[in-house]
Symmetry: C2
Subunit: 352 residues, 2 copies
């Protein structure tokens, strides 16, 4: 059995720095970071429990890659640039083959997203992965969930529902330990890759600092996550289900509840943001956006109105997608019923 010190030393120290500003990395009581002048820090923590948040028998390289990807997605949602992360790894035992693969996947993700591992600890127990990310934003330019206003557009990046379908594919696999991170990364649009190695929308998030009024990453499903923006902003959303961006891979897989997957399955780690119509025009003319959207398109899926909650139009029982019943979680239902309580627009709101 390797001791904690041996473990950290063998698998998690001596990595190169993938970001600026790391003065002292793994190995002291604290890491030391020097963010660039004029920046503020964005800080988030995520805990992923085997059997709850991921399949414990997935190839360890994929588990490592995905753990960092989904954590970094919180930075993308704030428009932040990744800087550093710490790792809290709880393991039932020190399986060196598992650790080597996990460490390799984690490091690939760190290199891909430009974020440096600067500390962590290992403990004995049921497999659990905690990742704490730190990013930086130019002062005054962070995106938050507050700021959506009536008449603004609701947009999402990429496509929705892929990861939900990918979860089903992964769930039905006989041997998830044989999946290869490298193969998945070579087919990033496959449903399995969309679930197992998602891509945080970092470049888009940073660009949106200058355009969007509010932003979130879609981890729990469009309806649930959009509801967070609506609640924080004190407004309501109308989502048109026939505008939901569905990928070719998802259409080919053609699940019977395809719309429901796009609305509520989660795990896509796309960005959902609100934007004034004039800013949307400007964004579409931005050269950086034109370049980005060639690979990651952005789709208008609805609009912000006065009131509270999230309403989805165009979903019928005939599709098996009733949103008024038990088919969405409690988190989503309450806002949907809130539709009837729309209040008149706030006359003090300058956007009205």
């Amino acid at each position: 059995m390797l001791s904690e010190f041996d473990l950290i030393h063998r698998y998690f120290s001596g990595w190169e720095s993938y970001s600026d500003g790391v003065l002292l990395g793994v190995g002291d009581d604290c890491a030391l970071l020097k963010p660039a002048a004029g920046t503020v820090l964005a800080v988030s923590t995520d805990t992923m429990v085997a059997g709850v948040h991921f399949f414990a028998d997935t190839a360890a390289a994929i588990i490592g890659y995905r753990a960092l990807a989904v954590s970094v997605s919180d930075l993308a949602a704030m428009g932040a640039a990744p800087m550093a992360f710490t790792l809290s790894l709880t393991l039932p035992n020190a399986d060196e083959i598992w650790l080597e693969a996990f460490s390799r996947g984690l490091r690939l993700a760190a290199a891909a997203f430009g974020i440096s591992l600067v500390g962590g600890d290992t403990t004995r127990g049921p497999l659990t992965i905690g990742v704490q990310v730190i990013g930086t934003n130019p002062s005054g330019e962070s995106l938050t969930r507050r700021g959506a206003k009536p008449e603004q557009l609701i947009c999402v990046s990429g496509s929705l529902g892929d990861a939900g379908a990918g979860l089903r594919q992964a769930d039905s696999l006989m041997d998830r330990s044989r999946l290869s991170l490298e193969m998945l990364r070579q087919a990033p649009d496959s449903l399995l890759a969309r679930f197992l190695c998602p891509t945080p929308r970092l470049a888009l998030g940073q660009l949106l600092r200058h355009y969007a009024s509010a932003c979130i990453d879609i981890s729990d499903g469009l309806v649930a996550d959009l509801a967070h923006i609506m609640k924080a902003s004190g407004v309501a959303a109308i989502v048109e289900s026939d505008r939901l961006p569905l990928s070719a891979a998802l259409r080919q897989f053609n699940p019977p509840d395809i719309t429901r997957l796009a609305l509520a399955a989660g795990d896509d780690y796309e960005l959902c943001f609100t934007i004034a119509a004039s800013r949307w025009q400007a964004l579409q003319a931005d050269e950086n956006f034109i370049r980005l959207s060639a690979s990651v398109p952005v789709t208008v899926v609805g609009k912000v109105v006065a009131g509270s909650g999230v309403v989805v139009t165009g979903v019928t029982n005939a599709q098996g997608d009733c949103l008024q019943g038990d088919c969405l979680q409690g988190e989503c239902l309450a806002p949907v019923t809130g539709y009837q309580h729309f209040a008149p627009g706030d006359i003090n709101d300058p956007d009205q």
Copy 2:
């Protein structure tokens, strides 16, 4: 069962800020922090598993208080001022009485140490507490484990072995759930309090930035933690066991292995640092130090020499404290035997 959102909202949101620079706290994808200009960040993470790192049946307020105290101690060891922390709470179930008490203890600690809760998550599973702390240091003034040089003195704050004895007392208690955080905090020198609600030496750590050459907090025991300084600095330590500071409470408890507790039991969260003799003179004349040391004395326990490892003098078999056998953990033994390999001093070392 409360949902994650309910839990966070009810027990961990809406706290006041106990530090400067928190722009956005709990409730978005990330917290936003603005450290003061000219500072660097100190970042650390700790995971504490019930049954491994603490007694699960301890009063929840004490568990919350202690979890933050031991994490903040890592900031003290770097000379950093606390700023913000995030919490990763894994719970077997949402016991509201437990959560209320845990939250109360955590908040008392946050107020005591001047650190703001800015985020976190809750997951279902075996009781595990992850705390990630962020502090700030004036640029270029951080204490690390690197910097100890031959001929420097080795000092420790407070007294050693108390928490080890307190652990024994706690271990033998019939009902740890009836312990009161408030009572322990009113008797901070009691052995139980030293184990269950330790005090991170924040003010001393910040003062030592101007004096010490290397520093660590004693979580795993003096010998083990001092060995980290020695390894990082490339030097060796001689500790004189008859100089170890023992408290009145520990002497009264009078465990048969009192010296071993002071050397190796850990959990005291005192600071151990190295300092040049001339700087030690200057420190003792510093008004801030005179004031601090009235309540938390600092004791010279040994000196740095060329070589590697940690040697303890004055410990005999007659005391039942043999340090060459199995009575210390493997972490400590190797360095002790390393004593024979002392090399001549480095002639390029300006302190020689």
